[in-house]
Each structure stands twice: as C-alpha cells, then as structure tokens.
C-alpha cells in the first residue's frame, strides 16, 4: 500500500504518482475513497465513509468501490491480488 500512500493528491483532483511519474484525475468520490483505502478501511467502513460525505440514493456502493479498486490494480497502484476486506 506504499504506492497508494505516496500519491500526491491536490484539492482539484490532480494525482501524481512519484514512483511511475504517471498523473491522473479523480472526482470527489474517488478522492474520498483513496483516502479511506490509505487508512486501511474495510468495505463497510468505505461505504459508511461515502454515506457520511455524500448524498447517496440507491447506488450500489460496494460495486462502485470494487470498480475503483479494479482501476487501481490495473494502474499498478495497489498490488495485483489486492481486495478490499469485508
């Protein structure tokens, strides 16, 4: 998880990965999730975090979380076998 912790994320959603030099854009939701993942939250913790920070209606939050984690795996920002706990 060191790669994730090393990411530099600006308020505007600009992300710089000092390890690879790659840059990304994230939206507010992803920004909150990255923060939660860095703190090691499990799935329930992440869902709770989203509900606390955003006006959520009927979305499938666990599925959206897995979608983001898949992107992180694809970009090598978390180890290949990484899964959210819970």
């Amino acid at each position: 998880m060191q790669r994730l912790r090393d990411l530099a994320i600006s308020d505007s959603g600009f992300v710089f990965d000092p390890f690879s030099g790659a840059t990304y854009t994230v939206n507010g939701t992803a920004q909150v999730l990255l923060d939660g993942l860095k703190r090691g939250l499990d799935r329930d913790g992440l869902v709770a975090l989203l509900r606390e920070r955003f006006e959520c209606s009927t979305e499938d939050l666990p599925r959206d979380i897995d979608d983001l984690v898949q992107s992180l795996r694809m970009f090598g920002l978390v180890p290949g076998g990484f899964e959210v706990r819970g």
Binding site: S10, S12, G13, F14, F16, T23
Partner: protein, 354 residues
C-alpha cells in the same frame, strides 16, 4: 504606444513538427508598438508553448476541431468572458474550417479575425491544386487517383519521375512504376484516399509568407529559402531572400484568389528559372518569426488588421536575415500541468474584469 490588444493564438505545439503559434506570439511580443496580452489556446495539456517563459499570459484548452463548432463556440464564449480577447489568430489547418464558420458570429461580438473564405480554403486544398492552374498560377501537372490501376498509364500524361502524395501529408519521389505502386499503397495505408500524383520538379525550395487584404491586394510578404531541412522536410534554418519572379507570383496568387489573411506558398524554382507552386498553406508557417526579425512583422500586421485598426505602413524586410531554430528544454513544476489537466486553464495574468 497603441491601445492594449488581447490576442488569442492557437498552435502552441512547438514539437519537432512545430505548430506556428509560438512564432506568431513571439512576433507579436517583438513589436514595441504593440501593447499586447496573449491568450494561448491549446488542445493538449502538454503543448510545449504552454510552458515557455514569458510566452502566453493565460492558456485555455479548447475542443478538438473534430468535435464540431458548437463546443468550440461555447468554449470561446467562456474564454472571452475570462480574458476579453479582441482578436483570434488560428494557425492550424484542421481548425480553420471551424473558425471560418464562426468568424461572422465572433465579429458580431467584437472579436476580429483575418481569415480566408470557405471557397478560398477549398481552392488550395491538395486534391484541387490544379484549379489554381486554371487561374494562371504555374502548378505542376497532377492527377488525383483512387485506383492503383490508374498508375499503369500515368506516364502518358505525367512522365517519371513523379511525386506520390497523400491527401493531407506525406510525399515520395518515385522513378518507376514499381516504386509508384509501392508508394501508392503506403500513402493509402497512412492517409487514406485519394492519392495525388504530381510531376516532380527539381530545383530550389522557396517559401513565401504572404498576407492578403481580401481584395486582391498584398499587405506584405517575406520570401525565404530553407537552408537546413529536417528528415520530416521541415525547414530548421532559412534565410530571407528577394526574387522578383517570386514577388510577381505572389501578386498573381493574391489577385487570382483575393486571399484574406496569412498564407504560405511553397514554390520550386527550376534550373531554367521557372516557378512551380507545390502547395498553399492557408495560415502562418512555423517560421513566421523571421518576418519580425527581418523587419516586416506580418503577425503584428494581421493582429492590427483583424482588430480593425489602421496599419502603419510596413517597412521592407532585410534580405539576408537568417533564422536558426534551436531545441531547448523548458523547466516547469507540476503546477501548470496540474491546472491544465484538471481545469483546462492556466491564468497567470490578473485577467480583466468585464
């Protein structure tokens, strides 16, 4: 010093196949009579001109021409709100149709341009260059092909060697049918149909940067011969020249087309002293800073005319002035790039309040 003028310029892609924007902006800044603020318009966060010191005050990203005029119109309205630009100088082939279409609307809002008409743009497109021949300009014999079989009899109308060209870019000199067929397929693979076959003319490659007034007259023109050419065929160094035959040719072109705005004529002068127009680019060339350096600042002239301001007569240019391009690495922190990629704008000046 004149009243301040805010000019928006595109083409900040100063790569090894450079867009003309940086040359246009440096020319504007070179002019001591012009109190100019420059707004850069970029298509990508990494266009080098965004990061050059002291080049553009503010930069805004604009939508690709392939997106159509509606997004461009919306985005320009926003940028105008933010910066209050008075004039736009587009510098890239692909974006010209969009800007030409928007020009009347922009004019109604008080934004000036100096652009050719749709018909003029059409007339100089590669596949139709022969039409310029009908208007009294010396163009090499050419044929537009859509079928490789047409090459088998091409020598009856245009003898070898030939130049096989793609519709937008790419050109190859061929001496035999086999080479021609190979070049044909290569052009099709890279650029699609049609393929243009042109008579090869040997001689000296000369260029003219000319600005037309839209009534058949010439605002000014600077002639140049390339002295260093890159493997992409781009001039990397050149020298200002004066050839009366070329001046004559430029005047003929202006009269024949009533061209409005800047353009570049690419011409070959053969050993017998004959001229052949190979191509007409409907915009400033990347080497346009030579015009400022040689004393006839044509980007300045275009900005003033587009703004509808009277132009003080241009000085003649100094023959023998050279340009030598250098590649240098700009240093930037992550900040400008981060702003370009998240908000699509970097505003360094105070902006204007309107």
């Amino acid at each position: 010093m004149n009243a301040p003028l805010t000019v928006a310029v595109t083409g900040l892609n100063a790569t090894d196949n450079p867009g003309p924007g940086v040359g246009v902006i440096r020319s504007l800044r070179h002019c001591r009579d012009l109190n100019v603020r420059v707004v850069g318009l970029a298509y990508d966060a990494l266009e080098p001109g965004v990061y050059a010191d002291g080049l553009v005050s503010d930069v805004f990203m604009i939508p690709y021409p392939s997106q159509g005029v509606v997004p461009l119109r919306d985005r320009l309205a926003y940028i105008r709100e933010r910066t209050g630009f008075d004039v736009i100088i587009p510098t890239l082939d692909a974006e010209l149709p969009g800007f030409v279409e928007l020009a009347p609307e922009l004019a109604a809002q008080g934004v000036g341009t100096l652009l050719p008409t749709v018909e003029q743009l059409d007339l100089r497109c590669k596949a139709k260059l022969a039409a310029l021949g009908d208007r009294g300009l010396p163009v090499p014999a050419s044929r537009v092909l859509t079928d490789v079989a047409q090459l088998y009899t091409i020598h009856e109308v245009i003898p070898y060697p030939l130049v096989v060209k793609g519709p937008y870019y790419g050109a190859r000199v061929v001496h035999t049918l086999e080479e021609a067929v190979a070049a044909f397929y290569k052009m099709v693979a890279e650029w699609g149909y049609p393929v243009i076959v042109q008579q090869f003319v040997a001689g000296q490659e000369l260029c003219v940067l000319a600005v037309g007034d839209g009534d058949g007259g010439l605002v000014g023109a600077v002639q140049m011969r390339k002295t260093v050419i890159t493997d992409k065929g781009k001039g990397w160094a050149g020298v200002a020249i004066r050839d009366p035959g070329l001046s004559q040719l430029t005047a003929t072109f202006m009269k024949a087309t009533k061209w409005r705005g800047p353009c570049e004529l690419e011409v070959i002068r053969d050993a017998a002293g004959g001229y052949h127009v190979l191509e007409v680019n409907p915009r400033f060339p990347a080497w346009c800073f030579l015009s400022a350096g040689a004393g006839m600042n044509l980007p300045y002239a275009v900005a003033e005319l587009a703004a509808g301001r009277p132009l003080t007569p241009l000085h003649d240019y100094r023959v023998g002035t050279m340009f030598v391009r250098i590649a240098l690495d700009q240093i930037s922190d992550m900040d400008a790039f981060s702003r370009m990629s998240t908000s699509g704008e970097v505003v360094r000046s105070q902006g204007v309040s309107r």
